[in-house]
Amino acid sequence: MTEPVIEIKNLSKAYQIYSKPSDMIIEMITGRTRHDLYWALKDISFSIKEKQRIGIIGPNGSGKSTLLKLITENLTPTSGTITVNGKISAMLALASSLNPEEDGISNIRFNLLMNGCNPKIIPSLTEDIIEFTELGPFIYSPVKTYSTGMNARLSFGITTAMKPEILVVDEILSVGDGYFMGKAMNRMIKLCDTGKALIFVSHSVSDVRKLCDTALWLENGSVRKLGPVEKICGEYEEDYTKKRDASERIGNREKQKNIRIGSVAPGSFDSPGLQRLRIVPEDSEKEFSDIHYIRNIQLDLDDNEQIKVPMEFCTLSVEQPSCLDVLGSEWGRFYNRHGADCRLLFANTGKSHGGHLLFHPGEKRLENKEIKVSCSFLASSHSDTEKLVIEYLDCTTVSWQRAGECISERHGTHWERVSASFAMPLATAEQIELAKEVIAMRAKPDVEIIDVAIYSDDEQAVVVKERQPFDIRVTIRANRLVERADVTICLYKSDGTYVFWQSSGMNPDNIYDTSQNIFNLEGTAEITFRFEQNLLNEGKYEIHVACANGFDITYNNPQSEQYDIKIGFGSLVILKEFSEQNMDFGQLNMRVPVDVYIIGKG
């Protein structure tokens, strides 16, 4: 077992936030803390093995760039350790060290020197870079005349010229054209094979897929998932695409918002005995409009057991009967405000409404019908305009209930104490089973994509030969009566390139024909896309399927409401059949006939 190239243990990074610069001086002189701490990364541990290519994905502000800067030592960790075995070369930002007034050649020389290159080998490296970047005569022009893409080429050429052992690349290559992008990727893979490791940050999941073998999903400053690239990217894309879609579609937005605020998330009752409370704005119809800082959450059960809810990320156990639902609800980063540890709470699309906290009342109390709970916490916010209240999840009615009367009182100069005492009904095992069913039913979309299958010669298949006709059969089920439904399929090559797209509401002449939509659907329907003429080349394809309330490109896309979307639901493999070199059709610009067969209820 070789030792890891990069080992990261319990790494945390906090940024000090001063409201004004003079605070920093006063703090230096008096020694009294006058700043807030923003925990960009909290307690991260992972290691990178030899020859591993790791891709870091995550939404904006999840801590990706901070992590890279910590690895390259441009930032120092607040706590935890990073061990790096090898020489790092990093491309953290575009053209940060290029001098716009000088020409390409002198910039190459200067940057190589700055990266610690031996002056003797500069001429030969310069030749390599000129050849690789293909800047041609531009290499003799001042860098200020370069386009963004040319800048990226030069930066990348310089960074990789010295054959670093560990290459760190932040999201910047996306400005280059496709040709250079491919070239750069090949080079990165080659470098990783001869060197030690590659760390690549990108918002483009397909780039990460092409380049990396492992993916690290960061969210809210902690590692959400780490694993094989296909698996993690698939999950990320599913999560991300759903979120984006929900926020982009006007048809979805209002509905989604209302559902989200009142809804009970699936899985809420999955662990027996676990009770759920949430902190939400006083106006129960609304999302958070302010940024809140919450700390010191305390629970008092039946007036005889006090529980302090930790603000850190943790899991439940016998010793730890209570925790925050950091990943599932709207909790933000760990923070230090006015000298006290707290956690951010603000509106966050795609997550359960409010700041959730879980507690286990203990086996003994579960025998009772209800439990007396007192809950209190300290809160502070930016503009002090929004009051917070506590709600509990009532499993007998499967809904959120206001926890009695919530009392707010000032606590010191910056904080406000919110407290409530209430009786919370405890459900029996049967009631919980019932509640689960109710939630499952509610959580179901109006229309669900149940199955995607490939048929060839009326037999189900995964592998199809070149030129062999096949069908893609999508089965959908309407959980409630829907006025109109339309099924769309999308084929992507496994390297992420788009190949084919068709909606069922589109006839073979490539005309959008809304009359082809499925109307008044109730129960199950089967939609078959018949690839009578199979022009797909050999390779592996992924099938993405979506179902929306009609498809009419001129009038309601993307306003249409999307019922369900499945990313990479099925995969299709085309086998090589003909020995001669085939023409690569690339993107297929054709339509195939569609059959709709309504099975109906039952």
């Binding site: 000090q16 920093m24 441009n74 990093a90 953290l92 940060s96 007034e101 000088e102 700055m114 610690g116």
Partner: protein
């Protein structure tokens, strides 16, 4: 006891020297870049690096030697003329003040390098010193030509100039380290320095002899560390003899001390640069 261990202190010194020799190519390249960058696209280009100090020197000589007609020199005590006296104090100070005002902002000005590129940032304050040194050498050359033209010979003490320049360089590097690292946290520093540079010229014995200052104000000269710089240069360039050995001792201690303390302060504060910039 480890605080007083001289070997440990010597190691810190050697570390910096090692770092600078290892990256000497880069340091010079950065200094060169600074000169070309500042004046690129201008007709007279790099001429301005010496054009600025030359014009200033000309103005001072004109005002004090021609308009005010201050006349000293010709005696054993004061061997050379007033212009030489003025220039021998003015030249080192102008070089030092350039370093001071540049040093306070050098890390902030190069924030993107500090945050995004892996490279030894200890070089950044040093490159400014090299540029100022270039000006110093050119100005000294002009002075030497002037003395040769008016006096027809050079005092033997002029051979000591390299030692002074070396000491001053250490002092400037040290000051640059302190100002650049503190300037990151306390951004008003560069304005303080600018004001000090403007009035500094008048609170050190450049235009006048210390004996001309009323006795009750004379202490100002002694508490200003830059007076020692001026005195040492005047000893060599104007008087041609060492008048007070203790002035030289104070100057040497100041320069070496600044160099040592500066490097330590920089090392200590640089880990936090990324957070503040």
């Amino acid at each position: 006891m480890s605080r007083l261990n001289p070997i440990k202190h010597f190691l810190a010194f050697r570390e910096l020297v090692g770092l600078l020799t290892r990256h000497r190519q880069l340091t010079f390249e950065m200094a060169k870049r600074e000169i070309t960058e500042r004046y690129s696209g201008q007709v007279f280009g790099a001429f301005w690096t010496i054009g600025h100090p030359l014009c200033l020197m000309g103005v001072y000589v004109f005002i004090f030697a021609v308009v005010f007609k201050i006349k000293i020199g010709g005696t054993l005590e004061l061997p050379l003329d007033y212009t030489t006296y003025l220039l021998s104090g003015l030249i080192p100070w102008m070089c030092f003040q350039e370093t001071l005002s540049k040093g306070a902002g050098v890390i902030i000005a190069n924030a993107n390098l500090v945050k995004q590129v892996i490279f030894p940032i200890e070089i950044l304050p040093v490159k400014g010193v090299i540029v100022s040194l270039l000006n110093l050498l050119i100005s000294l050359l002009i002075l030497i030509i002037y003395v040769l033209a008016t006096n027809h010979s050079l005092p033997a003490m002029y051979l000591m100039v390299p030692i002074l320049v070396l000491l001053q360089t250490l002092g400037m590097i040290g000051a640059s380290y302190i100002l650049s690292s503190v300037g990151v946290y306390f951004r008003d520093l560069k304005d303080f320095i600018q004001v000090f540079c403007m009035i500094g010229m008048y609170i050190m014995p450049i235009f006048y002899l210390p004996s001309q200052v009323p006795a009750i104000f004379r202490f100002v000269l002694y508490i200003n560390p830059f007076s020692y710089l001026v005195w040492c240069y005047q000893d060599i360039l104007y008087f041609g003899r060492i008048q007070h050995w203790w002035v030289w001792a104070v100057f040497a201690i100041l320069c070496l001390g600044a160099f040592y303390v500066g490097y330590r302060v920089f090392r200590k504060l640089k880990t936090m640069f990324g957070n503040v910039l």
